[in-house]
């Protein structure tokens, strides 16, 4: 291995007889191919099919909700709400999700019964994550500044114009279970 690294370094540090344009072209093309493959691979982990491999019951539930099926033709899939959109936040979340591969290998939620038992724990973790990032994924589409209070119900106007506007509360504090059935809410603040 050491020999291989030495050889690799010698080739890197030796002047090439190839034209500078060819070397630049190789680097440019290689860079595009690498970046394309990396992002394609990462996007593959953002698909519903990928999420369904472990979370099939939840993915099925989403199909009945306004976020999936609606009059306007806008659709939010799992990754739209559970994976941050900015690249750096996304990488941190993906690296963190590597822990979930261990859970997959151990079969932590590989049966409906196991999933049902763990559902409250999983939901609480996700609510806590969204509370800590000020419901970042909700705000990718729902912008407080663009809200038309005249189109909202009285209760919504009161909550949005006070608790949400002041930052005292964030979206997920009230909007739990909007795309999934709620787990046992015993002990959850405000429920």
């Amino acid at each position: 291995m050491k020999q291989l690294i030495k050889l690799f370094w010698k080739r890197l540090s030796s002047p090439s007889r190839a034209a500078a344009g060819l070397l630049l072209g190789l680097g440019f093309t290689g860079g595009i191919l690498f970046w394309g493959a990396f992002n394609t691979g990462m996007e593959a982990t953002n698909t519903e099919a990928f999420c369904s491999a472990c979370h099939a019951p939840i993915v099925a539930e989403v199909r009945e909700t306004i976020h999936y099926s609606n009059r306007s033709g806008v659709r939010a899939i799992c990754s739209d709400c559970h994976v941050p959109h900015p690249w750096t936040d996304k990488i941190v979340r993906k690296v963190q999700a590597s822990k979930e591969l261990v859970a997959y290998a151990m079969g932590t939620i590989n049966t409906t019964e196991k999933f049902r038992q763990r559902r409250g724990y999983l939901a609480n973790r996700e609510w806590q994550r969204m509370k800590e990032n000020d419901s970042q994924e909700c705000r990718n589409c729902h912008n407080f500044d663009y809200m038309d209070f005249s189109e909202q119900g009285q209760r919504s106007v009161v909550q949005h114009s006070t608790a949400l506007a002041s930052g005292e509360k964030t979206c997920v504090d009230c909007h739990k279970g909007i795309s999934h059935k709620l787990p046992d809410m015993h002990g959850v603040e405000g429920w």
């Binding site: 030796s14 190839a18 191919l33």
Partner: protein, 44 residues
């Protein structure tokens, strides 16, 4: 998520970014060198 867990994942997550770039560079360099070795540049 506990504060300790959050710090752990953020350190690993941010460390992954330069690692991706470095390994990408190594992979592209290795590929480019292999392509060059197929031509008259093999003895360089």
């Amino acid at each position: 998520m506990s504060t300790l867990e959050s710090i752990f994942w953020h350190i690993i997550g941010y460390a992954a970014m330069p690692a991706i770039f470095v390994f990408g560079f190594i992979a592209v360099a290795a590929g480019a060198l292999w392509i060059l070795s197929l031509g008259p540049d093999r003895d360089a």
